[in-house]
């Protein structure tokens, strides 16, 4: 692969440590290899922004695209690892310390309400929902 393809959007001069460059080269080559053998669609930034409810400007879509692509490509190295028979861990070991399911009244209700941007007792006001597909 030509270095142009590997480093598109990422001037080498911006990498902060020459030794890290070497490690990143390895990361990037590995991620390029692994994403080639996967059938996952690359990230569609506009679509993701809609899903995440963030109104991105066109400039932001253009700016974020290559960076997100780079990182997702780097994640691809997880696909190359043999993980058969390994149980996923939700978190490190923890005990199950649920408290009793009895409701309690929170005593700072006024302080909660004071933070609401648009409030008209007893409603939190929001604009209408527009029905779009």
């Amino acid at each position: 692969m030509s270095s142009k393809v590997l480093f598109r959007g990422t001037p080498l001069t911006t990498l902060w440590n020459p030794k890290i460059q070497h490690k990143l080269l390895q990361f990037r080559r590995l991620s390029s290899k692994t994403t080639n053998c996967c059938s996952l669609q690359p990230p569609n930034v506009s679509h993701l922004a809609k899903t995440a409810h963030i109104s991105l400007t066109p400039t932001e879509v253009e700016e974020f695209g290559p960076k997100i692509q780079q990182v997702i490509g780097w994640f691809g190295q997880l696909q190359g690892v043999d993980l058969q028979r390994i149980e996923p861990s939700i978190r490190a070991d923890t005990e199950n310390n649920l408290r009793d399911n009895t409701p309690e009244t929170f005593d700072q209700r006024d302080a909660i309400i004071a933070s609401v941007p648009s409030y008209e007792e007893p409603y939190i006001k929001v604009p209408k929902v527009l029905n779009v597909d």
């Binding site: 070497h22 978190r91 490190a92």
Partner: protein, 541 residues
Amino acid sequence: MLSTLQTPRSSLSRFTLPSTITTLASNSQSTLTTTQSPTTSPPQSQILSIRHSLLTRNLSAVDLARSYLTRLRLTEPHLRSFLHIPDDQTIISQANDLDRRIAAGKDVGPLAGVLVAVKDNICTADMPSTGGSRILQNYRPPFDATAVKKLKELGGIVVGKTNMDEFGMGSTTEASAFQVTANPWDVSRVPGGSSGGSAAAVSARQCVVSLGSDTGGSVRQPASFCGVVGLKPTYGRVSRFGLMAYASSLDAIGCFGSSVADTGILLHAIAGHDRFDATSSKQEVPNFLSHFDSASSLESKPLKGLRVGLIRETIEDGVDAGVVSAIRAAASHFEELGCSVNEVSLPSFSLGLPAYYVLALSESSSNLSRYDGIRYGNQVHADELDSLYGDSRAKGLGSEVKMRILMGTYALSAGYYDAYYKRAQQVRTIIRNSFKEALDQYDILISPAAPSVAYKIGEKKNDPLAMYAGDIMTVNVNLAGLPALVLPCGFVDSEPAGLPVGLQMIGAAFDEGELLRVGHIFEQTLENCRFVPPLVADSVE
């Protein structure tokens, strides 16, 4: 003993302090307990010496608070550690109440009179809590985080809220929506992050101790960059209630201090089960300091028999030579103390970094969906609901946060969950097991806390992967949920006074007591290493 290390120059940086600071020095030295020579002696617990001074009436809490506030106000324009500092009067009146209690012979808690800075993603009811984000600018939570509540109950005084990368996403404070904090060792450099403000505040003695949070190294890396002690406890050791969630399976509230002892005292104050955090452990909190040996009573090989494992993958290519040299010197110091030190390899160590980022970004995309401008936070006016969400978040959230949310959204999307999130969870299992195996053979594991010393402000350009690469030393510990202590162990040569290097010590789950005991001995026997930045050297003992 550590002859290969660069000792800091004792001269001040180019930044000269006004004469009021030197007057402060001569006043405070006569009142604060100082029994040792300032340049070469190991750090003493400020919390314990404050307690002694207050109870023997050598010093009032009001005078103590005033002296810290003076230094804080003088250094703050150059450091920008704080996002919010209450009126002096608020702090003085709490100190006054304490003085009255002492005069009346009443009991006072172990943190009596201690000024504590709190990272701004930890909720405080009487001060704004922004998480470093515009979307929460001016937000006042209706409650104190459990950790804050506990430290106040034990007599601590919250001196202010510290600067941080927005919602914990960053390692320099450059991603704060408000300001960039400077490293007290060299104000052209970053303090690290995301708890950069909390680390800088302790380093510059603007406060005694501080609270931070650590999801992938955000307490340990700034501790290393700022030359202070930082502790990330075991996941579940400290309640997360009131900590703005970044990645719920990885987040931990951590402590900063200028000595191992102070860090341990603060941890003891805030640790323990909390019914408001179902992931907080019911395991008993031991009195960490009861196993501390005083320096004078140490035998010649006080750590004889301790098995120390130096993680091989953390001293290979990609780590600054100066950092490797400092860590190797620390390993020699351990050997002098009687330890056996061997290199140990952790399989799959490097996989932890992408696994961590998949998990953290995925969980954060979910956790940050609550910032929608409806029930709290800053709202952008819109005529219909979707735009209100989209525009409020677009305006209120910074670029790094937006990108991370988008990447997390991708990794959790239907069809991608198995390829990314689930696989990352499986890698988490591998990492956990590899640490467990290593900690069967070794009592503690050591490594650098970061591959380099503090970078220049602005040096890390817009290359996310280069930025993430700096977390390689710390993320696996969060994946495994283990405790880790970082303490300054040496310097790298750099104008004006050298830059500190931190040693990371990793222990078994809930073994903070052992980490602190060993760390304390290491610290107290380290010669010729004084970790007070020249900026404030004249005004502290």
